[in-house]
Structure formats: C-alpha cells, structure tokens
Symmetry: C2
Subunit: 722 residues, 2 copies
C-alpha cells in the first residue's frame, strides 16, 4: 500500500455537512457509510446533536478522523478543508461542486483549495466528486445508490454518473472491486496518483478507469510504465474523435490535448486502451482472472466448423496466431478424432463429439508446448452436456495453468455451464470474437509487462551554439525560422549537407570552394515562401558562376518583393534526392504531453498520406528504432524493389537528437526537418522550419522557469545565460 | 413470395427415411415437424407401417407431398431425389451428408444430385443440411433441438451448428425469425436464391446470414443490389483474414476467393457486412424494428456528461454526425435546462433531471428538423424512474417516427425499463457505443437503399484490333506481354503516348518523325526485364540520332543476352512524369467474382503503400469516379499543394475502358497499366503488362463458351472468329 492507504482504509471518517434531511447528499453519504463500514463514522454539524443516531461534533477538528468527507456548500468548503489540515487530517474527499467546472469564481476557489491542500500536504479527492469507496473495510463514502461487491478491480472515473451506472451493472454481473474513486475536478490527486497507489496495492489485480484528460502527460507515462510491469491498466480515454474531444472539453473543461498525443502517450505508458465500455470490462475481467500466456499462440477446440472459422477470423484480427501443433499432438488427434474432423487448428472434433472427446482434445491441446492459450468453442448438441464441459474446462485450465476463454453458444442451454465458468473466472461469451479478444488482452498485457524501457541517450551536443541560433530569432523578432537555422541541427549533431549561408558574393564563393563539385544556391528570406517560383533556386552552379549567381538571386528577390528581408543565400552541396528516401522528422508541443516527436514519409506525401508515427519526448533509442519500422513506407527504408536498405540507425539517431533538442529548449514550439533524406550511407537534413516562442526565448532560452508546469523528467537546460 | 414459396410453406411434407429410432436424425425431424406444423406430415419408409403414430408410405412418389425431406443414406439419396422429381415434388431438402464435403466419391455423387435436380427443375436445399424452418406455418424441417420464435428475420447459414446455437440464444433473447435455411453444400440453391426469394417476401424484414463463400460473385451482386433497395441484407462472410480463409477452405472446401473481391463485391451488392456475431444481430434487430432516418444526424440526450462524451466518440467512429440544433431548439433548451447543463449536442440535462425534463428534452430534440435520429442515454439517479423514461421514449419515438436507440446504463435497476423498450423494438444496451452502432446500421442502410446504380457504359472500341494483339501472344506461345501490347490499349481507346514499335531502323525513324520533339527509345523483349540496367533505354533522342540509336539498342541487347527474343524498339514521345501523378489501373481475375478492377497510386508506391481500391467488373461511370476519390492519395489528384487538379474524368474513363476490355476478353488473367500518368490535360498509359490464358485464347479469344461459368452480365464477345 502506498501513500493513499488511509484514504481507502481509514479508522475514523468525519462527514462534514452530515445531515438527516431526506434526499440530501449529506444523508446519502451517512447512510452509505453506516451500512458496511468497519470503522467509526463521525458526523460534523454544529447545528445538530446527532445525525442518523450518531452524535455530532461541531467541527472537523473535533472529530479526530483520518478521513474527512466534505459536503458543505462551496462558499465554506475551503475553510473546512483548511481546518481539517490544521487539525492533522491528511485525507479529504470534497464532494461539494461549484469549483472549476462553474466559471472563473469557481476556478479561483479551486486554486485556493489546491493551495490549502498543498500547504498541509493533504491527499485531496475532488472537488465535485461522487466520493470514494473501498470494499476492504466496507467503506462507501459516496452518495451513489449502490455499494460495490468485493473484487480485484480498482476503478477511477472522471464521471460520477458512470460510476453509479457501472456499480448497478457490475453488482448484477457479479463483478467486484477493491477501490473506486470519483476523480471529480482533480484539484490535487489525479489519475497518476491512483495508478501509482494501486500499483503498490497487492489487493488490486487490475486498474481500470474512465478519463477525459490526463493532467501531466509525461509524468503519467513514467508512473504508469512502472506500474504496468506488474499490474494491468485498462482505460477508456474519451475524446478520441473530433466530436468526442469537443464534447469532453465542454463537459469537464479539459483542455484538449491532441488525440495523437494521447494515443502515443497511453501506449508508451503501457496502458491498454479500451474504445468502449464493453471493451473495458471484457479486458478487465480476463486480466483479473486468467494467467498470462507464455506465448501468443492460441488453440481453438470446437465441435462446430462454422463458428471455428469465425473464431479464426477474430484471431486474424488480433495479435494472436493460430498455434501449430507438435507432431505428438497431431498424432494424438489423428488417433482420437473422427476422419471428418480437423486435427489442425481450429481443431474440429465434429458435431457428434461427447464430453469425453471434448475433454481429451482440450487436454492434448493445452499440453502442447506450442500452445499459449486456448478457446473452448461449442455449439449445443444432443450428445454434449454443457455443464460437464464447463467443469472439464475449469479443471483443465487449472491443470495446465494456461489461460482459457470460452464461447459456449446458445441461450438457456448454456446457463448452468455459464455459472460454472463464471465462478472459476473463465470468461464466456456468445460471440466467438469477444472470447478471442479476451485472450488478445492477455497477450497485449504480456507484451507490455515484458517491455524493457531504456533511458534516452544523452548525446554530446553544443547547447551554446543552439542557443545562439535561437537568440537570432529574438534579435529579429521573428518566431518563424527556415534554412538560416540549419546551424541548430549542426549543433545537435544532426547531419546536414555541406554548406552555409553567405552574406555576400565573396562569402558564397568561399563556401562553394569548400564543397566538392557544383552547388545548389537558394535565396534565404522569411518573406519568400515559394523560392522556386521566383527563380530563387539555382541547382548545379559551378564555382566560376557562384559570384554572379549570388547577385542574380538577390536581384530577383528584390524585384519580386522589394520589402522582403534577405538574410543571404544558402550555398549547399548537391544531394541526389532520388538516391534516397525522403522522410520527415518533426516535433510539436502538446499541452498535456509536451513535445511530441514525429517520423514519417517526407516530401509531398507528408500532408496527403499522413504516413507518420509519434512518440512523446524524450525518445529512447529503442523507441526511435521502433518508429522507423512503424510507418507504412517502412519497406522503402528496408530496401524495397531490390534497392539497398538505408542507414536506419542514423535516421533513428536523428530522431533522438531532435528529441533532445526540443526537450532542452521548450521555446521550440514546432520544428520540421523535411526532407531528411535517408540513403544507404546515412541521412541528411535538407531543409528545416521551426516556430519558437519569442517571449520564452527572451527570458532565457532553455530556462526551466519559463515553461508551463515543466515535467520533472524534462531535461531542462539549467546553465546560466552567457 | 417468389419461386421458393412452397419450400417454406408446403401443404404436405414427406420425410424420406423417417424412423422412430431414438437419437436418429429421421426421428428428430419427424418430432420437429409434428410439433407445430400446420400441414400434413407423411413418413416415407418401406420397412415400417407407421412412425410416431403416422402411417408410412413406401416411397416418396406415394406421398403426394410438395416438399420432400431426405434423410436416407448417401448411397440411395440420389435415387430418392430422382424419384421425387419423377413424381412431381419440386422442393427437396437433402439432410443426408457424405457428398462434396467427403472427397472425390462424394463430389461425384453431388454432381449427380445437381444434374437430377436440374433435370426436373427442383428447388434443392443441401445436401449436408440441418434443414429448413419457417415460422409462418410452423414448419420445422430440421433436426435441431429448437424451433424458432416468429419474427421478421430470415436467416441462412453455411453452418448448421451455428443455426442451432443461434436459435437457442435467440429464443432466450426474444428474437424471432420468418424463415431459416441451412445451406449445406449448396449443390443447387445458394445464397443468391434465398436473397432473391426473401427480397420478394413481404414478411421478411431483414435478411441475415453466415457464409463461408459465395458461389457466383457477379450474379450475387446483381441479385442483392436489387433486393437491398428495399430489404436490408446483413452477412457475416468468414475468411476475412488469412487465418480465417484457410480455416474456411478446410471446413467447407470453399475455393478461397480473395478477401479483396469479397469486400468490394459485398459492398457493391449493398450488403451490410458484419465482422462478428454480435454485430450481425445488433444490426439485424435495429433494422427490423426501427424506421429509416431521414438524415445521418443524431441527437444525444443524456443526464450524464461522461457517458455523453463516450457516445460522442462512438458517433465520431461511425457514419453519423452530431446534429446541430435549430435556433428554436436551442431556445427551448435554454429555457428548460439548468445552467450547468449543455444545450448543444450531446444535450446534458444534468444528473438531477426528473422524467418530465427528460421527456421534454427528447420531444424537443426529435422535433428538430436537423435531427435524423436520437440516442436516449441515461444513468440511474434517485429522481429518475427508468420504467417511466422507457415508456416516454417509446411514445416519443412513435410520435416523431424517427429512429431511437437507448442506453439505459445499469443492472437490476434497468430490467423493467429494458422490457418496455424491448417490447417496442427499441434496442437498449449497457454500452453507449453499441447503441450508436445501431443507429449507424440504419444510416448505412439508408445510404444503400438510396443508391442509384448506373449501367456500365459501352464504349465504341475496336474489338478486332484487340483480338489481333492477343492472337500474337498465341502465335508466340508467350502468356506474358509488355509494351508490345500497347496497341491493346489503343484499341480500347485508352490514351497512350504517341509512338509505336519499330521493327527496323527505318521504321523507327518514321515513327520518330511523326512525333514532335525528341523521343524515348526502349528495347522490346519479353526476355529482358530490367531494360535500363543494360542500357536498353534512351531518353531524349533527336530524330537525326534515331537510326543509329536503334542499332545500338539492338546490339546492346544481343550482347547482353544473345538468345533474347527481340520484338523491336519502342519509339515514344517523351512524357514528363513529374508533371502529373503516377497512378495504376489494373485487373486480376477472382475465382468467384471474375475480373476485379484496381485503381491506385502508381510507381513504386503500389507495392509498398498498397494505396488501392477495387471494383468487380463491369465498372460503371459512377463507380469509376468513386474509385478515383477513394485512395488515400486522392488529394494529389484533386490538386494538393497548389497544383492544378488532374483530369479525373479521363482517369475514370480509363478505368471503365479497362473494365470493358477485361470483361470482353476473359482470357486476360491480369493486366496492369503502371504508370497511368494523370495530368491536368488528361491521362496517358506509359507502360502495360499482362498475362493471358493461352489455352482459352487458342479456342477463341473472347468466345463465351471458353469461359468457366460465365456470368450472365458479362459482355461476352459473340462475334465469330475472323
């Protein structure tokens, strides 16, 4: 148990604002607490002597409680919490609404609440919460209509109504919980705190939740990835779609981070993301009750060919593979199964199979070393006793210790068997696809819990040089930079073509002479976007023409746009784009997750095909290498159509160096290297565009104080300005 | 009712092979028929006087039945069917197994059965069938354990076991059927026959099915698209995935057509394809009971913000949009809803909403002309009576005539309300996503039923010229053709660059002189695949160098590969590939659906990105235009990044002309035009490769008799060979 132990298992609970007025929240909480709670309940109400037969105290300070539940009006709630803090109560659940969700006055009140809680180091749930419950000591400090059954799921929700609905349904389904918390406005405790707490709780088998937003993305990732090495976390994070994000924003005022960031962030965190309520509970139940498979290969044993084929399609949709049996298994099936059956997977033991044949086939399959898990799939027949099959399934699952799910198809014929399976924690569905999805969740968690996370590499970079380049943007008061910022990439060791920016024709010639062969020359101006259109690009300029070319380019630019600011002319070695693959490496900043790093197919395809993949920075070596394999065009990198594979390692290193750059300089809002041309010999950044936050740069490029709520993990630049 | 009326509603049923031996199929069928059937049941068994109290006749001819159910051993089954045919029985259900599913002997027996049925014009179900049932007259001519409840679904299945499972489950769920048929081996009647029959049946509201294969793809499309203008068809077609296709093939021996063909074919047929059993029945139920929406805009009315957001995500995943309310609606909501509610969609009427507020909000929303359908989404609260809300929902759905689904979240609290909703045919789920998917199925069917199918255009083409080009392949005994077949495209009016194939240097010069500017010259040889590698391509050859270039190319080719067959040198106008978008138009032949036409992004991206879309030929103008909009790279065609849009109409016409070509010449097995360069001015086929069936060409290129089971719709070439 972690720091929040007393929140879920207090000795004495004070209910501040307790009352016995019918229909009130204060009464509902008192009733719920008095029902099953093993500890003491102390109503706090200066206007009453007793509530529901319990003697009242006049103030929270007199209650000597280790948990205070606050149901007073919003105008006095902060004072009550302060008083609780002063009197040493370290756990508070603020049920009271009328805070951040109601406008600026409420938001100010919520800030005050947060400040008070921080001052006294209190664990505060809410405000605007349905409450918390924990079945361990029978604590139900919510105003909902139901208590929970005991079980191994711990559940957090940003919607209180969803909790009431889930509990009513779960009680009906026999699904039990360890702890349940209604997060409310998350003024102090948020999802990361509960993931961390439940990760340390041996009585929590699976952590589940409904979230509309995550407060601090990177911190959540780091907490969750540690927890998910042992304990599965399954979440519905709504706002997946544009419509949903709008609705979430208007519901809880959650500042919409990008779905891209949530998708990659939750994946990096090791969270199993459910898209619907059904997926959430299907995954939670199987993760709670079934063991982890040793491999992702499934055996399907069925007495019905058609449903067997359906289940195979579901396997094809999943991470699972159809197990290939050993010769011993095939021999055993050959001996025992009728000729019209199928000894290969899915194993069709045929419609006339009795219980003995079913049992033996399942036993053989589960005993096969190639088989990681099994689906028992059956249609009702006259010769098969479903309840017996259920008992055999339970027994064989235990014998072999491998995960099993069931699809006993049918209605009333299945009921008794379903009870047997349910009691033993073997999920059973009418639809074969759902039974396969259950096994898939186990395999997904196996993949997560065996992940090895490596720390981001810290490359030796020239931070000072980078700061100088950014300082130029401040000098020019121009938040958008282009090729004039190629030095920024050089400073961070990202390979660029030989060359530089010349301020006059002699400069240009000097640069050109240092380059083997002809050069490319481009006008450099933040005011001219389409350089080619105005003749602002010259390809294949020999040294003897460089001087004149410089003047010609500048003249053209001035003629085209007399007021354009001309920063000079870029002189660059010629890179044969056709010899490599044009990729893009970029970044943008998410309000919750901070810098996201992107890798994708570059050139004009970036916008149109959106063949890209993302990671929340900082990006480790493993993650960067994964990214290069995730895009649809990855075979081009690996050398499709007889071409040599490109130097993927250098591409991956470029991703990491960019990650380090944007982590070091939070003032970089967006940055795209497009194209990064990847060839068998390496990779070169041909062009760059970035947008910086001038105000933040002006304070001190790279100073931690200038960032909004910096993540602890951020590699902030703490060197003093030179 | 159609031709199969008597199959489902016979007056007298003969059971050939009836017996009262315990556990036998013959007895099970007798018992099922005697249970509810309104007509006469006549057991046929020469060895018995009576079966289950019914007097036997000695042969099917004596039974005077209009339906014969055959359960005799396979060795005599064909004779029984012949006898039935001779005595005028036109409907036969062959339960007997031991035919095509058991090997070559069985397959021969099945061919015989088919021949007999065709000889007598019999409607034959099976063999290897569970039987048929129809609730209209209480007919249960199956050997399954359950009868069906009456209802509006008609159900066909290629798996008999799946039928038994579904009936047991459906009886429990209160789901009823009109007709059910176990298709068995489909020796005579197949899915197209039942779709057609049920399309004509006013008592069938929705056609559903489980299929592992479709016998004649194009015929099925044409039948189903007519039916689906009125009656929804929802199918699980298994073998979607590679694993599933293998399993399906080993289960029913279905020759695996490509999933690509099924996906596009079922879509062209207007079939709603379900990926799982749950999807199948969720869609079927809502289509049976709810009206069609007038638009795809949904209103969500909820007392719970969180679930409201979840439902909005589900809307984002679907074809639906969140309705924008009229000003009148917004005014009405502003007046009646509390301030902390949300008058925009999803409408949050807040947790303290009573039945009156819920009712009024739903009434207002359904009355809004922008709203096509509604979701009633509710969490349990102390002030809300679920059963009353259910009654209001039913009443308001009827009042407004718009489709409504419900998500009353909870367990035991919902039961009574769920019954009210169920009785009224309003689907209700615990998961908001499933309730939204129900509305989505309605919108999908609305789109299907309002489709207008246009006939494929018949372009004026030079079929003789095309035949000549193909004849050359026969002469050369070479099934693979390349650019030497560009004339084939010319013959079908597909634009190609100016030029041709020269047989000698003078020819080449003549061709070059007819072309403006320099030319491209390429060696033409089926034996040389990588022409560029051996210097077999010259770009930008001026006229004065053409003569020498010809000789040089031929010399290089001979030096490189002395035994290579040289067909000449292609002389072609220069096409600037960078000025356009490289696309691919191609075709391949599917065993079930015939020629599939492909359109996609061309060049090296074809293989790597697989950005392609397909149609079963013949392709109409509407379909061809749709194809050009379906690929991910479609914005490139529409003029992304400030470029002019390409001539999409010419691309679409090229697709249609290729469709006509491969439909006219079934001997063309595969053909790819890659690239077809699309520019603002048109489109040009730069290169072509095809594979032909030499044997079929040898008989008569384009002769209908040479094709395997030609589709009636195929535009076969019936002109005599010249």
């Amino acid at each position: 148990m972690g720091e929040l132990a007393a929140l879920f298992a207090p000795e004495r609970v004070a209910v501040v604002g307790a009352t016995d007025r019918e229909g009130s929240v204060g009464r509902a909480i008192m009733e719920n607490l008095l029902a099953d709670y093993e500890g003491e309940v102390v109503p706090v109400n200066p206007k009453r002597d007793e509530v529901l037969g319990r003697p009242c105290v006049g103030s929270v300070g007199e209650a000597d409680a280790d948990l205070a539940v606050v149901v007073v009006p919003p105008s006095v709630a902060v004072d009550v919490v302060r008083e609780a803090g002063e009197s040493g109560v370290s756990n508070v659940v603020v049920i009271t609404a009328g805070f951040g969700e109601t406008g600026s006055e409420g938001a100010a009140r919520e800030d005050e609440l947060t400040a008070v809680a921080e001052e006294y180091g209190m664990n505060l749930v809410g405000p605007n919460s349905l409450g918390v419950l924990s079945t361990r000591r029978g604590l139900n400090a919510t105003f909902g209509p139901d208590n929970a059954l005991p079980g191994g799921l711990s559940f957090m929700s940003q919607s209180g109504a969803f909790i009431t609905a889930v509990l009513d349904w779960a009680n009906d389904q026999g699904i039990g919980f360890k702890d349940v918390v209604s997060l409310g406005n998350k003024a102090v405790l948020d999802e990361a705190d509960f993931v961390s707490e439940w990760g340390d709780d041996p009585e929590t088998d699976v952590i589940i939740g409904y979230l509309e937003g995550i407060e601090e993305g990177r911190a959540f990732i780091d907490t969750a990835r540690e927890v998910t090495q042992e304990t599965p976390v399954v979440l519905v994070k709504s706002g997946r779609t544009e419509a949903g994000a709008q609705a979430a924003s208007s519901h809880t005022g959650t500042l919409a981070g990008s779905e891209q960031a949530y998708e990659t962030g939750l994946d990096q965190a090791g969270v199993i993301r459910a898209d619907s309520v059904q997926e959430l509970f299907d995954a939670a139940r199987v993760l709670e009750s079934q063991p982890m498979p040793e491999n992702d290969q499934v055996a399907v044993i069925t007495n019905a060919g058609g449903p067997g084929v359906m289940s195979t399609d579901a396997v094809g949709d999943s991470r699972l593979g159809m197990a290939s049996f050993t010769d011993e298994t095939l021999d055993a099936f050959s001996e025992t199964l009728p000729e019209e059956g199928n000894i290969y997977n899915p194993v069709d033991i045929v419609g006339d199979a009795d219980n003995a044949r079913f049992r033996e086939a399942l036993d053989v399959a589960l005993g096969d070393e190639n088989v990681g898990c099994a689906l028992v799939l059956s249609c009702p027949t006259a010769v098969l006793d479903y309840e017996g099959l259920a008992r055999d399934t339970v027994e064989l699952q235990r014998k072999h210790g491998k995960p099993v799910t069931a699809c006993f198809m049918g209605g009333s014929r299945v009921e008794a068997a379903a009870d047997v399976l349910d009691d033993a924690g073997i999920p059973n569905y009418f639809d074969p696809a759902r039974a396969v999805e259950g096994l898939d969740a186990l395999v997904r968690f196996r993949e997560i819990s065996t992940r090895e996370y490596d720390s981001p590499t810290e490359f030796d970079v020239d931070r000072e040089a980078a700061r100088d380049v950014l300082a130029r943007a401040v000098d020019r008061d121009e938040p958008r930079l282009g090729v004039e910022a190629m030095d920024l990439l050089d400073a961070y060791g990202i390979p660029t073509p030989q060359g530089g920016i010349a301020a006059d024709p002699s400069d240009a010639l000097e640069l050109a002479e240092a380059i083997d062969g002809d050069v490319v020359m481009k006008i450099v101006s933040p005011d001219i976007l389409h350089k080619s259109d105005i003749g602002g690009v010259k390809v294949g300029v020999p040294n003897e023409e460089v001087y004149d070319a410089y003047e010609d380019l500048v003249t053209r630019a001035h003629n085209y746009q007399p007021d354009a600011e001309i920063l000079g002319v870029q002189v660059q070695e010629i890179v044969d784009l056709d010899a490599g693959v044009e990729t893009i490496v970029g970044t943008n900043r998410d309000p919750q997750f901070g810098p996201l790093v992107l890798f994708g197919l570059g050139g004009i395809f970036v916008e149109v095909l959106e063949d890209t993949t993302f990671r929340v920075a900082p990006v480790s070596g493993t993650e960067a290498r994964e990214m290069t394999g995730e895009i649809n065009a990855a075979p081009l990198l690996r050398g499709a159509r007889g071409r040599d594979p490109v130097d993927v390692e250098t591409v991956a290193e470029t991703i990491q160096r960019l990650s380090q750059l944007v982590t070091d300089f939070p003032a970089i809002l967006e940055l795209d290297i497009n194209p990064l041309v990847a060839t068998p010999e390496g990779a070169q950044a041909i062009d760059v565009r970035l947008t910086v936050d001038l105000d933040e740069l002006a304070v001190d490029a790279g100073d931690a104080d200038a960032t909004d709520e910096p993540n602890e993990q951020t590699l902030v630049d703490t060197e003093p300005d030179q």
